[in-house]
């Protein structure tokens, strides 16, 4: 992270010297610095207390001339530094000069701000966009507005989902901007899945999505169920017609929500109660659902028994 630097002659001029002024080689001044460092730097007395005289009040406009400063070589450097500072001298930010007692010039990439300015857009963006912890706001205060820079339109909104210009989900129960992922478990299946409720607009869409998720498992279970209840392959081509198989599956699976099929979809709501999917309007369901469960229809009586 640090580099040896080759000092320009100007920098050498600005260097603090302990000995008599004059030409000194770079190496000698480095040696001096090292020697200094080995002595107790706690007794460094470079900084005399310099009080600003009362006449040097900050006033409107320009930079104050530093008349209160005693004229040490340090001071001279400061004046030089100020001049070079105002001339937009930029230096690599990480450059650490070896002689530690050379005060560093301020690395000024003088980013001016004005809406119509010629933009050093790239550096400006990187500077404010990728600097860690800047601007200093807590993480929960970020992303309050939408990504767009336009302001929110005023006016009433008929539906809580319709709030233009907002990236944040209007689902009160979810803080993320993206989707409302709820767990979905199925009886007899040890590993659950997750489904994004926000991706759907209706119960039909949800049910087909659930189908997709558990299709393989349901097929297996259907097959085993069918095999056990219908002894032969009378109703099923065991080796073959994909279409027919699919039809059978679909027949079995669309029964999921209709209630006449093999399985029932239930959900747990925001109050912790288990409810049958399909009773309330879709948007109300979305705002209260916490998790989903696919139950075997035959389990229902036991299920209702559980509730009482």
């Amino acid at each position: 992270m640090w580099q040896r630097s080759h000092k320009s002659s100007e920098e050498r001029k600005l260097e603090l010297r302990l000995g008599p002024p004059g030409e000194e080689s770079l190496n000698e001044s480095i040696k001096k610095c090292n020697r200094e460092r080995n002595e107790s730097p706690l007794t460094l007395g470079y900084f005399s207390t310099q009080k600003i005289s009362s006449s040097d009040k900050p006033g409107p406009g320009g930079v104050m001339l530093s008349s209160a400063w005693p004229s040490t070589s340090y001071h001279q450097h400061q004046a030089k530094a100020k001049a070079s500072f105002l001339q937009l001298q930029s230096c690599p930010k990480n450059m650490i000069v070896i002689g530690k007692d050379v005060p560093k010039l301020c690395c000024v990439e003088n980013k001016t701000f004005s809406p119509s300015s010629e933009n050093t857009t790239v550096s400006k963006r990187t500077a404010s966009g990728s600097v860690v912890g800047w601007p200093p706001i807590r993480s929960f205060r970020r992303n309050i507005a939408s990504g767009s820079t336009s302001k929110l339109p005023s006016g009433s909104h008929q539906h809580q989902h319709v709030v233009p210009g907002k990236v944040a989900s209007t689902e009160p129960s979810h803080n993320s901007c993206k989707g409302l992922f709820v767990k979905i478990n199925m009886d007899g299946v040890p590993i659950g899945r997750k489904v994004d409720i926000n991706a759907y607009d209706s119960y039909e869409q949800l049910s087909s999505a659930v189908d997709e998720l558990f299709r393989g498992l349901l097929l297996e279970m259907n097959l085993s169920h069918i095999a056990s209840s219908h002894c032969c392959s009378g109703q099923r081509d065991s080796c073959g017609d994909g279409n027919q198989k699919k039809q059978e599956e679909e027949k079995a699976n669309t029964g999921l929500l209709v209630g006449s099929g093999e399985y029932t979809l239930v959900y747990e709501d925001n109050e912790g109660d288990r409810m049958l999917v399909g009773d309330v309007p879709w948007h109300m369901f979305v705002s209260t659902v916490k998790r989903l469960r696919v139950l075997k229809r035959s389990d229902l009586p036991a299920f209702t028994r559980e509730l009482t």
């Binding site: 406009g61 004005s114 309050i144 302001k151 709030v163």
Partner: protein, 586 residues
């Protein structure tokens, strides 16, 4: 000639019991040995500003009758992700020690600390008369820990999770408050992600007649709010949940009636996802409001003005920069009692300004609000002229935090550094305690701060200064400085080493992305045994780099507990001479 003039201890103790301020208590304890003894036996409340400055055993040993403890952990810059995960701030050893030795403890207040469910369970089971748990910006626990508190703390009055990061496993924790529990006074769950069981909440509110503060989380639907409020009409402070729902007249009128029914309501917050049509429900109570937090409310200037201009008694306003200069002008005209203003950025990472908020807004407020003391202001442009005006208008400012969003932005009119503007602030505001700088700044501003900032206690600096002289001015000039936090400034070893003694008079110093070398850190650690010098560097051991290489981050704090033992792999405490001598004698 000396004579002993002694009151019986009980009398002194009784007198001391009227002294509550920690500073005064400390002063009392320094008078003489017997006063020290008497004072320590009757000290009920202790504030530890840095949990690593002292060990739990030391505190308990000195104050065996403590009832209330407040602890702070991570440095302030942890709020902005500058302190790597796992740095420290674990409260576990404190809780473990207090669970054994202080069974009568009633209050625990933590800020920026890590607390686990196990610790919460220990709190719940160990302190029979536990009353107050405040976890500000804490992390490490889940709702299971909260369930333990709810289930066991029969006398709990205050549960405040302000801005903490809680792993929200389930909203059912609230149901763990037993039916016999009725002592709740303050509940703040605004940081929780999931919905709590609303029916349980309703029942809880209904049976706690002393409830004064209720801060709900975003997940509480607006149409359930009237019902909740009807259970606690004595409420003084309310944080709503989401502030939008389907537009229905009966919901509106219920809401309006519910707000009006809370005759003591003085403080409002929450207001996530505001649907402007529901704002008028609040109008009838605006004139009573003293505190309004609209910092999540994405509503426009017009709606903000309509709301705020009715809040004639407002003392504190937190708002987004949607308020714009026009809104701040209206604020200045309507809210003559205003003490505190915070304006947060709605689009902090945007390239261009998205709102018409400039330095003028702040100037208007400084002109119109004679009692304004505390300012936090995010904006995109500033001028020295504006800062002079603000300083001359409001010499009574005690907290001034200005954040010009783009680092190193100069005065937009003159293109010069903002040194003299900030200089005017420190010069005129003689009681300034807290200052945050931004914009283009040279060493000059630090000269002003060192000269005039005599009451300054906390200073935050970023992307400023030119040389060690800047840091030297601050360390040598600010007599009351307690906390200094610096990032991305060209400050190196010299000022730090020249002012080493000053560091022992401060609580802490944070420096990140500066130019302090490892060698200087080692030296400081060596020579100052009562300072913990922590080098935080995620690049690996500092020994693997040259000694002159600057460290990534540096955290120095005074401590009588010695170096801490719970450091993660990326933190090194510089050893002092005594331990080094021990090393060499082995």
């Amino acid at each position: 000639m000396a004579y002993t003039f002694s009151f019986p201890e009980e009398v002194l103790e009784h007198v001391f019991s009227f002294i509550e301020s920690e500073k005064d208590r400390s002063a009392i304890s320094l008078v003489c040995k017997s006063w020290y003894e008497i004072e320590r036996w009757c000290r009920r409340r202790v504030f530890v500003g840095n949990c690593y400055a002292v060990s739990p055993v030391m505190v308990i040993k000195r104050f065996p009758e403590l009832r209330s403890i407040a602890l702070k952990g991570k440095p302030h810059f942890a709020d902005f992700n500058l302190v790597p995960e796992g740095w420290g701030g674990y409260v576990c050893p404190w809780i473990a020690a207090m669970a054994c030795a202080l069974p009568c403890l009633e209050e625990i207040r933590l800020k920026r600390m890590v607390i686990t469910d196990e610790s919460l369970e220990l709190v719940a089971k160990s302190f029979k008369n536990f009353k107050v748990l405040v976890l500000t910006s804490c992390e490490g626990f889940t709702t299971d820990g909260l369930a333990a508190i709810a289930a066991n703390c029969r006398n709990l009055k205050e549960l405040d999770l302000q801005e903490s990061e809680v792993e929200d496993l389930s909203g059912h924790w609230l149901s763990h408050f037993p039916d016999s529990y009725t002592s709740l006074v303050s509940l703040n769950i605004s940081c929780l992600g999931n919905e709590v069981s609303l029916s349980a909440l309703e029942r809880l509110l209904g049976r706690c007649p002393n409830l004064q503060t209720l801060r709900l989380n975003r997940a509480v639907p607006l149409d359930r709010l009237p019902n909740l409020l009807s259970r606690c009409p004595q409420l003084v402070e309310l944080g709503t949940g989401v502030y939008s729902t389907e537009l229905r007249p009966e919901v509106f009128s219920n809401l309006e009636a519910a707000f009006s029914g809370c005759k003591q309501l003085k403080s409002l917050s929450g207001f996530w996802d505001v649907l402007p049509s529901y704002l008028p429900a609040v109008y009838p109570i605006c004139s009573r409001l003293t505190s309004l937090n609209l910092s999540y409310a994405t509503i426009q200037t017009y709606d903000l003005i309509k709301l705020i201009s009715q809040c004639r008694n407002l003392l504190r306003l937190w708002v987004l920069d949607y308020i714009e200069d026009a809104g701040l002008y209206a604020l200045a005209a309507s809210c003559k009692d205003l003490r505190e203003l915070r304006v947060f950025p709605s689009d902090p990472f945007g390239l261009d300004p998205n709102v018409a908020l400039t330095e003028q807004g702040l100037v208007s407020v400084s002109e119109g609000c004679p009692k304004l003391q505390s300012v936090l202001y995010f904006c995109r442009q500033m001028s020295n002229a504006a800062l002079y005006t603000i300083a001359r208008n409001r010499p009574n400012l005690t907290r001034f935090r200005l954040c010009i969003i783009e680092p190193r932005t100069p005065d937009y009119i003159t293109r010069e550094p903002l040194d003299s503007g900030f200089g005017a602030i420190v010069e005129h505001c003689k009681d300034l305690q807290r200052l945050s700088l931004s914009g283009l700044l040279t060493d000059r501003v630090f000269e002003y701060i060192g000269t005039y900032g005599k009451k300054l206690e906390m200073l935050s600096v970023a992307f400023a200064g030119e040389s060690d002289l800047g840091l030297h001015h601050v360390l040598s000039g600010c007599d009351n400085l307690r906390k200094l936090e610096i990032r991305d400034c060209p400050f190196g070893d010299k000022a730090l080493l020249a002012n080493a003694a000053k560091l022992e008079t401060m609580r802490s110093l944070w420096m990140s992305s500066c130019s302090v070398s490892y060698g200087a850190c080692k030296l400081l650690g060596q020579k100052m045994p009562r300072l913990n010098v922590e080098v935080i560097d995620e690049r690996g051991p500092p020994d693997s780099r040259p000694i002159s290489c600057p460290v990534e981050k540096l955290y120095i704090y005074r401590s009588i507990a010695g170096p801490r033992l719970d450091m993660p792999g990326f933190v090194w405490t510089m050893e002092d001479d005594s331990s080094l001598r021990l090393e060499s004698s082995r």
